[in-house]
Structures are given as structure tokens and as C-alpha cells.
Amino acid sequence: MEFWSQVNISRNTIKLKNTPNGYGLVARALHWGMALAILFMFGLGLWMRTLTYYSPWYNQAPAIHKSVGIILLVLLVLRFAWRLLNPAPDASYLKPVEQKLSHLMHMGFYALLIVLMLAGYFISTLGGRGISVFSFVEIPSIYVQKGLEDIFGFAHRALAYLLIAMVALHALVALKHHFINHAKTLLRMWHGDR
């Protein structure tokens, strides 16, 4: 095994890459990190729309939402690349139809997230201004079309609700496999191969 694919900490071996028995540290960190960030973003998105003009968060909350969104977009691309380079753990313990459905769900997440995030990007940039990511990096506006913000705003919101519904379904299925089927589904993603 290549030296960089494992890191030794005392007697435990932390596997960075996926193995047939579980997800590696990179996939798990991306999965849980993005899961937390996405739930945070959903709440933040709903909350920031209720702020009044004189709220101290009126400007800050959308700025954070946009900054985190751009970071999530970058992570999503990296995660998809990592997935392509790195076969997912063995899923043969699932029925064929379950394998197909779970693959469909995972691909659905990627497709939905990319469209959702691009819609968010366009809400902010169609007017010609870029997005400042925590004041460190400026993501430029690549397409200007005044007035289309409404459509992208609607799409962003509708897709966000759809995403949360899918997250709920995804979590329910994972819990079902864990508690009812006593399968390793959740543990493969929770503590990986050990």
C-alpha cells in the first residue's frame, strides 16, 4: 500500500481511502462535514430570509451563506472526483434492487446539489457582482442576465426543500439498515473499516 494511504496513530490504522469494508477517512470526513454544513445552510437560508433590515445579521447571514455555499461547491466537485478514483465499499450484501436504488440516490444527491448550488451562485451573480468568500477569495460573475434572479431564487428554494426530503429519506434508510436489518451500512460510513 502506498505510504500516503495510511497514517499510523499508535496501534490503530486510519485508512484514508475506501476499502471493501468501509469508507476511508476522506470520504467520511466529506460525508459528515458536508451533511452538517448542508443542514446548517438550510436553516441559515430559511432564517436569513426572515431578518429585518435593521438586524445585525441582515448583511452578515447572506454573506456567510454564500461563502459556505462556494466552499461546499468546491468540496462537492472534490468529493465526486474522490469517488471516481476510489471504489465505494462492497454493497453485495444488499439486494440488487437496493443497490440500484442507493446508487440512484447517491447520484441524485450529486446532481441535485450541483444544480442547487449553481442556482444559488446565479442568484448572487446575475446582476454582475461576484461572491466574496469570507473576504478571502472573490468568485467572479460569469454571466449577467438581470431579472433571471427570480427564477433561480425559486429553483434554489424548491431544490433545497427537495434536498432536505432526500436527506430525510437517506437517513431513514440508513437507520433502517442499521437497526432493523442489522447491516453494516451506517457503520461503514460512521467509523469506516475496522
Binding site: 429585518t52 433590515y53 435593521y54 447572506p62 442568484i123 448572487s124 451573480t125 446575475l126 446582476g127 454582475g128 457582482r129 438581470k146 431579472g147 434572479e149 427570480d150 431564487g153
Partner: protein
Amino acid sequence: MKLNKKTISTLSLLTLMAFGTPALGADFTIDELHSSVNFRIQHLGMAWLQGRFDGLRGTFSFDEADPAAASIAVEIDTASVNSNHGERDNHLRSGDFLDAGNFPLASFESTSMEIEGESAVVHGKLTLRGVTNDIIINADYVGSGDDPWGGYRAGFVGTTSVSLADYGITFNLGPASTAVEMTLNIEGIRN
């Protein structure tokens, strides 16, 4: 025909618009490319935010023999609001402000005019968000005459103040920001 400032000042606003028109009355179509509807509103009581509506059209007309019968009608695309910030424009188009989805047009139609020299007080009805109120626009004549391309033009500038709450816009922007000052630059080409 050339008009100089001195000549103009001796004539009434609407008579000027008729200058060079042998027939009684003339209708003008507003030239969107040389007209604009601008607005400004106080930001926090500390500065002025300036914006505009890019989409407008309309006509004005008058009768030389009956200047008081002059009229103007302007239509504004509410979705064309432009404050040089896409996200803010999106908010301005929403139900909090213009509700452009339900009310794509705002309009002004004059009902009567008081003319004095180169100025006019234009009484009329402003419709915004489906609410119609009487407003007064203070208008000044800017110029008129033959353009270099065979047409005849006349232009005016008008100002007015619009209270947002009068049109059901109650989003709280602070105590200094309850009214919008509007400036209309209107240039018409005689039909």
C-alpha cells in the same frame, strides 16, 4: 427652426412643444433610449441610494389652442428596477416592494396641468402595486426642436416624491426611508 433660450422663456411650455407645428395639437412618443425614470431613497438617513427603472414607454400630447388639455401617460416595467446590485433588485421586485410578478407595470397618467413659463405642475394618477393615488409632478421644459435625423423632439424633466406606505410597501427601511424621490427625464419624438 432654431429656438434660443430667450425666445423660449417668453413662451409657455406647451406652446413651445407645438412650435413649428402648423396643425393644432401634436402627439409625441417617448424615446426610451433618451428617457429614464430615476429614483433615490435615503439609506439609514446617511446617504442617498440612486436607482432607475430601465423599461419605460409612453406618449404625451397637447393642443396649442388648449394647453390645459395637454396630457402624458407613462408605463414603467417594475421588473426593470436597477439599483446596481442584482440581489437587491431581486428583493425590490419581490412582494416586499414592487411585487413585479403580480404587478408588472406601474403607470402615471396626467389629469390636468398648471403651466407657468417653462414649468408645469402636472396633476395625475400614479398606479403602483395595483394602488392608484393622485400625485403631483413638478416639470420643467428642457428643450425642443428638429433633431438631425428628420424628426422633431421635445424634452422635459419632472420630479415628485412618493410615499411607499401609500402603495402598500411597508417593509421597514428605517424612519429616514419612507419616501422615494423620483426624477423623470422624458424625451418625445413627434409622431
